[in-house]
Structure formats: structure tokens, C-alpha cells
Symmetry: D2
Subunit: 377 residues, 4 copies
């Protein structure tokens, strides 16, 4: 199938989320990165483009330049979609300009800085009928999709409580100065981050998962936010009470100062008949609790799952998706060896490992055949 | 950096492991698939090549044809490495021919059918000095690499017992005929599979992990294998007693008939001072047990890890590597939308989700600011 | 050591918490149940007393009668302590009368119906200097005591967030009428239960664990409670925002309508240096999370624990405390056999199991001695 | 109900297993300890008896003396059952003498030193028709009983593999001399321990659980045992291959040198339709795995369990049985306070905790009533 030609705004050297977008687009194999504006520093941007194997003439100085040049190209060469992976404050104007010019968009979250901007974008999408995908990554997990489908089929009975959490601890190293490797102080500056740090960066994921999995809308919130330390201008921690409708309440808890917590995003939806729980750190496990039956664990790659969950599944059951990365590590080591670069023993298995393996298999078969006796390898 | 030009033997439509190799090579981003022999049926092979966007003239009828044509190309266009992902019985002759012709190799396991073939390959590698990577995927996991490094530093004291397991249950559906979707009966035929089914297919992974993580060689084995059912010609289950040296023994347990077990590969190395345990289904957790200290859980993406473990790590801690696949699922849905294909609500987050998110963030900030009062979204 | 003579108010046939008090007092072996008022129905009370092997003359008609009669006995025969395990509304007046008469007390929670009663009891305790123990069971777990001691030593750094949860689902069967076995509708009646169902019954445990483990006082609360269903007069669900001091906030979540949740009491205290997490359903695991070190799991019966945690420990590590109940089940089956009552095969291991075991051990030793050969059992 | 009069041989000061027997018998509440021979040192034995509140005249010098004196007592006073909790080598002769004299028995395992002794005991039991209970504690767990019943109902289909493990690490501290607190060197002496250390002490539990849960008999074994260190005369580690019948094989792995493992007893039975797995360290979780359905977790105190599993259950679901020990710890602290002994703050909750709890409940109710506002506690 022909690949979709993709551009990228942001995501140059050292940008973790831009790299993630490129990897994701390579895994699904429907996109080809053909150009972009990778860095505000044009020289760095060009170096990065060269490194990625992108034609130099499609590494642009600005988004305006990109739009002008790409529109001038024939339709079958022109960029079709652009991924915006810049800091939050830049999302809106780039998105607006690109969609107005006719490009589909993938955009990092939070989508904009204000509600007004968000509504304006919504109007543009409606008018242009272009594809606009917001990168709420966690909705891509098979078991989150299974959760959504199970709930929509009514297996939980009446939903009676909803509870989502997103706890992290990494901002400790910034506010307490304990890890000089961590940068990102801009995240504590309202000018770059917007109205909120903790809720804007991670609380909104918990919010999104609630609405995604349940299909319900949160009607009202009451919040208590905490800057945690003197001199911090934004929330690093908070709790939000939720109201869905009469008799259904819930809570979102989010924090960036939970020392030692890695990426504690969890969601639980409790019903009169059964409940569902999921946590991002072990994304292949969806727990269904019931008052009358044994707890059930749903996992990906099983025929008992709904189609949307299975659509995202490419490995047999029991192989966590991360297995591709394990294999990629072996390919990485192999590439180093082929290129004549230095590498460590253990970066990829060699022919000697193959010999050992064959000896193992044949010794084992021999031992069994000869009546369970010891055989030398 | 210039990508390495890769070919592939096997891996056409429906081949799960070939697809995994392509995904892995795209993730690490050091390779570019330029040609191959994807199927014994040349028509299918060509269709597959077209689908993958490969130049038709580099989709070959046979390995011989591939070798001849590629050698005729200038060095800076020629294929550099070939991935062999065919059934086991074909590995050896293809590997031999390709290496002799000067190609680097990535080869699926088990490497060959016999020990003699394995030794012959080892000689060829030594002579040609080409890179030969055997795909023991599990050695690519960061925590397996951490385990290897911790053991080599001696933190376990004297190793006193080694225990590895590889249990699966999927062959039940074949031998008991319970799932017509599953094919693969060729695996029960010694002609295609070799001397062993269970030990050759999965036991050898347990064997490899033991030697990889400990740096020890298994000297002798005593095995008891089980075909489990009348009429089965190969082992589907077995236990192997291991001897390393005087006073160090161990065991490998492997089975394909453990009903309901997904992919139960585990390894445990027990020492006089401490022990290490790892399981493939939760590959980000490495447990260190000690008689005198709290159990410790090592996880990827932490500065306390050894360099080799961290080298394989691209996400911040707490994001299981599978997160790239989650994001790839979102890209997949986006691609469908851009191409005008059908898709389900929920395949990717839209601008409306963005609007909801912005409303959430601003309502939360407002509620807090106004003294923890209810605010409508 | 001489046992302390104990009486009991409430706890007759069918009373689960009274039975738990008696078991607990027998395990610690410092108490002897000598009398009480076990049921409002005097005939039932007498039958129960007989069953427990209690002297009939010490099974009293009322608490007043108990006080009068026991005070008339010589000091070395007289009841020393009384356990109050009645419904909530009766705690206060019985406690007041008994302490005034000079008896030590163990009292179920919640202690009283109102704050005024609670303060009055506090005064009486101060005046009489008698022992008053409130049964917050969860403070008896070794790992909760370890948590308290670790926090008091400052290992967490600055505490930055506190989060406790108590979720259950059993009240679903009452409000939705799905399990006729469950009684306890009185719990939904404010007259018997007091001002609150969910917060009074279980939220208060979460509250108690927070203050117990951290040594901090909660200064202010903001709550949102939910009766969940039309016609219910009390809260069955709720969230409570907590304020400890400037810059330290937290949350208590409690619910009785979380379908399928068994007894989900958890506490987490997050600090600038590290965090601690514990859950009641796996009470032997205390997790310490850190940004810079592997997660640690503290378990009972290890020399690395603080003295208070170890004081509660009687089994070697790895035997969950419930092992006594397992052994008690075997004793129970044995008792049935001795009394000539009916029992099922499998209620206790017999001499035949002993014979099998000896054959196993000796066959195993023989097989090894003779060079790892098969030996018949 | 009248309690059964019990005696005990062994189990004096410092004897951990004797203490466990007494606790277990007090929990089930069907037994009353009336006498015994608690120590070979008569003075220590008497002191121990006094401490336990046992009549001095029923603390005997020897088993012979006990038999003589008890037989001389009237039937309604006489000891009915005796628990033998001495070192292994003494079990047989005491058991023989006591049964011959007409006493029921509870006996620690391993039952005897030799197979011949075991068979002789079996004959005595058959002749006398007395109750003989061997203390295989683990068969008392509700979920082991549930496992047995599920298997006997055939839910697993054809059993295809059986795998049990019993790993511990504590003997490291003896053989490597790292923990001077640990005594028990007699366990390494064949005279006191018998033919085997590891297999006799713990392997036999794995063996027993296999036969208990499956109802199958192991027909043949092939073993490989390991003394692990120079100078050790017994096995501290080993693997045993098992044969049940044609096409059914299995393995027992046992070790006392697995550094840091606490009490790793596990059993797994794999079938053509489903499999069951249980581990002693989390005894309330029984996992049922299936190729076609979500994994199920069975837990105690649910109506879906079989009667034998539920018979052993006294707490509502979600309260691990160890909760009695938690409550016993609170009773312990209370006893210290009543006796005027020293105790630590935190050993039991006081009236002040009760006051705090009442304030919490009423503040929470008030906050909610007044429209979710902050209320001071």
C-alpha cells in the first residue's frame, strides 16, 4: 500500500516525543516522513533532517515556508499530513495555518492553550473535513479499547463510581534539584505550559480515558490544586471531584511529586454488576471484578476480545508488545557490527550461540532416547 | 545516518515472524528493506513486495537469483545484510550460500537442523568475518541485559541453583482440535521441525537465556521428554536436568501443552548472597531477592542500571515499551481516516477530544482559584 | 503467665466481629473469656455461653447485672476487661458504665455516635486511667507498623501527598437485592448506624491509618458524599479532600458500591525522597518507591524491620500469618474425626499420606544414589 | 461444645512448630491443652507448663509416665489426643506407644525415619481405628481445597503436566555462616534428620500437595540431588522427575539454598482444557488459566467455591486470614497495658483515636451537607 507522506513540526535532536511519533509511524508502516521544521535553529534542523535521510530541500526554515513550498508541489509528491510535536504554546497557530492550507494533522496534547482556541480548531476541522488526530496515546492500548467495548455492551450494570489516577514523581528532581540530568524547567513557567502543569500535562489523560472508556461526559468539577512548594507558580498536584449525573460521582487524582512513582496512570469504573480496572504500567492486564464470580483477567490477542481491541494486536498472546523493541535492540547491535562500529558482547546472539543451541537440542533428544541418562554437551 | 540495505528470505503474507523482523528493523531505524524472496510462490512474493513498496526488480524468484543479481549491482546499491525467516529446515543452505557470497546475516532460530551444520556455519563465519546475528529475541530485553551485568559483577555470590522455564499451551488447540484457526501442523512433522518440537522451539530459548545471563556453560544434560498423546512423533513437553560443574545443578522445564499459559518464559538464578528472577510476560521487572535486605525490583530507564540495559531504552521510566505500539494504533486509525477508509469511533482521538480536554483543564483551574467550588464543564 | 479475665458485650451466635475478637484473644493467648452479655435475647445468650464453655452464672441478663455481680466477686476472680462488640449506637453508654465501674475496655469502632460522646469518654479514660483499646484492626499489621516507624525516621523526606482508599462492593447485594443471604439492612438506617454509612464504617479506617502511619493530624476536610440510589438515606460512597498544612494535601476515597471489590483498603504516602504504599489484601507487602533506587519490598519476619513490626511476628518469613488458620482447619477436621462426626476425605492428612511421603523421600534418595535412575514408589 | 483434651510431646520454649500447633488448636477452638512432655529437660518442661497455665501434675517426665498416669485417670478427664512435635527421629516410637495405649494422634511430618516404620504405623492405625492426623499444613488452605475439588470435577480436561516447587534460602545462613541467630545445624546431621534434608523437609510437601490436589499417585521418580557444598552430608537442593502414567509426567523442584527466597511453595497442574496454579506466599489466590477464556482468580469466602473450601472460611472476602493475627497484636498491646507492663505508642488504638475518628466522620458529613465546603476537624 502506498505510504502517506508526513511532515513534522518540532521533534529534532533530544525531543523524546517527536522520536516516539516517528517510531510509532514506522511501526504501523502507513507513513513516510518526507520533510518538516525540526528545530527553531535552522542549522540544527538541517543536520537532523540529513541524519534521518530526508531530502535537504524539504527541511524548511518555518511553517510558512513549508506550507508555501509543499503547496507548490504536485499532489502526488506533496506532504499529506503533518505531525505537530512542539511545546504547547505553539500548537494552535501552526495547527490553524496547516489545516487552512489543506493538510491533515496529528497533534500532541494538550491541543491548545485556551478553550477558545480549541473551539476555533474544532470549527476549522468541521469546515475543512480534514483528519485531525490528537495524540492521546493511551487510547491506543488494546485493553483500553476492550474496556470501552465491554462498558458499551453494558456488562457493568449501572455505573456507580469512577476513579482515575495519574501519579508521577519525576518533577521532584527539578523542584528539589536532586538530578541535574533532568531539564524541563520551562514546564513550571505558565507562559510555555499554560494554565496548569499537573492537570494540563497528565490530569487531562485521566480525564480523556474516563470519557473514552465510559462514553460519559463529565458535567461539573470541583478541584483542589497544590503547588507543593514555595515559589512554584503552577499546580504540581491536585484532586478533582467529578459529577456525571445525579447519583454518579467520581474523582481524578494527579500528581507530579509522588516520589518514586514512574507513570502511575490507572482507571477504574465500578458498576452494580461488575467493575473494570486497568493500569498503564502493566497495560496488557484488564481486570474484571464481580461480587459473584472469580475475578477475570482479560489480555490481548485472544478470541474472546472485541474487534477493536484485537485490531491493534500483531503478536500471539503472552508476548508483550514491547517484544518488538527487544528485537529492535538485537537489530541495533547487528547494525553496529555490520557498520564496523564498536559493540559489547551480548548486544546480539552470534553463530556460536547457534552452535550451543543445536548441541543442547540434540543432547536433550539423545538423553531421552537412551533412557534418561546424562549426555555431555 | 545511512540505512543498511536489507533483504529478506521468507516472511511473506501471513508470516508472523517475518513481520516482527520488519517492525523491529523499522523501530531501530538502521535498516531499509530493499528486496528478497518472500514466498516460494513467486506471484505471491511479487504481490507482497509491491505491497511493501519494494522495487519489483528486487523481488527474486530464488535465493540463487538474488545472490546473482545483487552481486551484479554496484557496492553502494547492493544488499548488505539478509534476514532468513523461513521454516527451520531451510536455514542452513541459504545461510551458507549467502555468507559465502559475502552477505551479512540475521537468522531465525533454531539456527540449523543438526549440530554438524551448525559447526559448519560457525567455520564460515570465522573465515568470512561477516556479521551473523541469531534472533534470540529475549536477549534484547533491557532487564535481561541488566541481569547479565549484575551477575558478571558477582552480586549473587556463589551461584547455587539455576532454573528456567518455558511453558506454552497453544499446541493443545492442534492436538485436541479445539481451534480451527490455528494451523501449523508442520511443527509436529520431524521433516520440517527437526529432532525436537518443544525443546527445539522453546526449550532452546531457556537454554540460551541461562548461558547469556550467567556466562556459564552447561556441561551435561539428562532429559525426560513427553509426546503427551498417542501418534505424536515429537516431544511436546519435557524436563532437562542440568550440570554446570561440581555443586552447581539446574533444570530447564519446557512444555507446549500447558493449557492456558500464554508465553511463560522465566529464568531464576539463585546465589549464596542474592538471587535474580525475571519473566518474559512482565519483562520490565527484574527481582533481586536477598536473605538480609528487602526484595528489590529493577526497572528500565533508571540511572541505577548498567550501560547495556540502558542502551536499549528510549522511553522514560514507567512507560512500558509497548507504548509505541499503542501510539502506532492511533497512527493506524489516522491513516485510515486520511485515506478515506472506514474506521470505528475510538480509533484515534479527534479535535472534539481536544476541546473536552481544554475545557477540563480550565474548569479545574477555575474551581481551585475560586475556592474549591463546583464549575460546569 | 496468668491470663486476663475478659467479658464480652454482644458477639453471640452469628456475630462475625465478636467471633473475630475471641479468635484474636485466643491467638495472643493473654486473655480468657469468663462471662458476658452475648445477646439481647437472654435464652440465646445462655445457649451461646454454654457452647463456649462459660460458667452459666456469668452469662448475664444485662450490662448492669454484669457490673453488679462482677464487682461483688473477689478481685482475683473478677472480670478485668470487657470487649464491647455491639451495634454502634450502644457503644457509648455501655463503655461509660463499665469504665466508671472500673473495667478496662476493648471497644469496636466507630467508638460512639457523636463527637460529644467521644470527648466524654476521653475524659473518663483520663480520670480513671484505665486501659481503653479501640479496635482499629489494621494498625495491628506488621507492615503498617513498619510503615509508621520508617516514616517517623524521616526516610520519605518531605511528605508531599497522602492518598488512602477503602473500597468495598458488598452493599450492592442489599441495595440491588441480588444476594438474599446478606442481611444488614440496619446499616442503612441512621438510627443504628449514625450520621454516616460509608465514611463511618470504612472511611474512618482510612483516616485512622493516615494519622497512625504518618503521625500527622488532618486539619480540614471537604467532602462529596453519594447515596448512589434513590431512597437511600446515608452515604454509600464519597471522596474527602484533606488538608494537613500549607503545601500538604491529600484525599480519602471510600465506597461500598464498588462492585466486586473485596476489601480494598490501601494507603500511600508520597515524599520528596521516597514513598510508601500498602494494601490490606496483601498485607505482608510494603512497597518503598524511590526516584533513584530500585523499588523495595519490605516483608515481615526480617531483621531489617523495626522492633514494633517484628514484635507482632511469630512465623518465619514467607509463611503468611494465615498459615495458622490453615493448620487450624486441619485441627478442625481432626476434632471431627475424634468426636466421631462426619467429615470429608481431605479434611486432614492421614497415616496413609505419611506412608506415601516416606516412600517418596526414600525413592528419591535411592534414585540419586544409584546414578539418577528411575525408582518405583 | 466440649473441648477435646489434648497433650503435647515436645514444643517447649523456643519451639516454633509446637507454638504453631497450640495457636492453630486455639483458633479452631475444639481443643484444650491439658498436659504433656514439653522438653527433655524436666525442669524446663515444668516451667513451660506453668507458663501455659497447665496443672503441674500433668507435666510429665517422659512419654511412658504420661501414658501410665493418663490411663489411670477417669475417662472424662483423660487426655484424648496427643500432638507429637519433636525432632523427626522420635516420631515413630512415641506414635507407636501412644496409639497402642489408645490415644488419638496429631503428628508432625515427616512421619517417620523409614518406610518400614511408616507401614507399621499404618497397620496400627488400621487396627486401633484411632484418628491419626499428619500435619501437612498446606492442605488446610481454602484455595488448595478448592483446587482439589475443581480437579476432581474434571474442569481441567486431561492432565498433561504437573509441576511443583518448594524453594527456600534460609540454610545459606548456616552453611555460609552469615547469620549467627540461626541455629538448626542438627538438620544437616543424618542421625537426626534421616535420609534427606531438602527432600525430606520440604520436597515432601510438594509431593503431598500434588497427590492431594490431583488425586493421582506418583508411580516412579528419577532424582538428582545436590549437597551444594563440600562437607555437607545431605541434599540441600534437588530436582525429581515424576511419572504418573503413560503420557503424564511432571517435576518437583526443591531447594534450601535459593538465596532470598522466603517460602516458595508452588503447585501447577496443566490440563488440556485449563490449568490451575497456586503459591503459598499468596495463599488466597488460585489462578485458572484457559486457552479460550480470560484467566480467573478464585478467592476464599465466595459462594462460587466448593463446600470444603468454604468450610475453612470465617472472614468475609477480602480480609486475608492473617487479619486475626493483626487483631491479636492489638489484644497483645492491650494486655500489656492492663498488666501495667511497658508498651510503645502504637501498640493499640486509644480513646484519643476514637475521638479523632468521630470528629472525622462528623466533619465529613457537615462538609457535604453544607455544599462541599472546607470544615475544620
Amino acid at each position: 500500500m502506498k505510504k502517506i507522506r508526513m511532515g513534522m513540526i518540532g521533534g529534532g535532536f533530544g525531543a523524546f516525543i517527536g522520536d516516539a511519533h516517528r517510531r510509532a509511524s514506522r511501526i504501523c508502516n502507513d507513513f513516510e516522513l518526507v520533510g518538516g521544521v525540526f528545530d527553531v535553529d535552522y542549522e540544527k534542523s538541517k543536520l537532523f533532517a540529513k541524519n534521518e535521510g530526508i531530502a535537504p530541500e524539504r527541511c524548511y526554515k518555518s511553517v510558512d515556508a513549508l506550507i508555501a513550498a509543499e503547496l507548490a508541489m504536485p499532489a502526488d509528491k506533496r506532504m499529506e499530513v503533518v505531525a505537530i510535536v512542539t511545546p504547547n504554546a505553539l500548537h494552535f497557530s501552526f495547527a490553524k495555518d496547516l489545516m487552512t492550507a489543506g493538510f491533515h494533522l496529528v497533534c500532541e496534547k494538550p491541543m491548545t492553550m485556551t478553550v477558545e482556541e480549541a473551539l476555533e480548531l474544532e470549527e476549522i476541522v468541521a469546515k475543512t473535513k480534514l483528519t485531525f488526530a490528537l495524540n492521546h496515546t493511551y487510547t491506543g492500548y488494546p485493553m483500553i479499547r476492550q474496556m470501552r467495548d465491554l462498558i458499551s455492551k453494558g456488562v457493568l450494570g449501572t455505573i456507580q463510581r469512577i476513579d482515575a489516577q495519574y501519579y508521577q514523581g519525576w518533577i521532584n528532581s527539578i523542584i528539589h534539584g536532586t538530578d541535574s540530568r533532568i531539564t524541563g524547567v520551562w514546564r513550571l513557567d505558565p507562559k510555555h505550559t499554560g494554565a496548569s502543569s499537573c492537570m494540563g500535562d497528565i490530569g487531562v489523560h485521566a480525564f480523556n480515558l474516563i470519557e473514552y472508556t465510559t462514553g460519559l461526559e463529565i458535567k461539573e468539577v470541583l478541584s483542589d490544586l497544590n503547588p507543593v512548594k514555595e515559589g512554584i507558580k503552577l499546580d504540581l498536584d491536585g484532586t478533582v471531584l467529578l459529577r456525571f449525573h445525579k447519583n454518579l460521582k467520581g474523582v481524578i487524582r494527579a500528581s507530579q511529586v509522588c516520589g518514586g512513582v514512574e507513570n502511575g496512570l490507572t482507571i477504574a469504573v465500578y458498576g452494580s454488576k461488575a467493575s473494570l480496572r486497568w493500569g498503564q504500567e502493566n497495560p496488557n492486564y484488564l481486570y474484571m471484578l464481580s461480587d459473584t464470580e472469580p475475578t477475570k483477567i482479560y489480555k490481548p490477542a485472544h478470541s474472546y476480545n472485541e474487534p477493536l481491541a484485537e485490531a491493534g494486536q500483531t503478536m500471539p498472546c503472552g508476548h508483550p508488545e514491547g517484544i518488538y523493541e527487544a528485537m529492535a535492540n538485537i537489530y541495533k547491535g547487528t547494525a553496529k557490527s555490520i557498520r564496523g562500529e564498536e559493540f559489547t558482547a551480548g548486544e546480539f546472539p552470534t553463530v556460536h550461540d547457534g552452535v550451543r543451541g543445536m548441541k543442547f537440542i540434540h543432547s536433550v533428544v539423545k538423553s531421552n532416547k537412551e533412557g534418561n541418562v546424562w549426555v555431555k554437551i
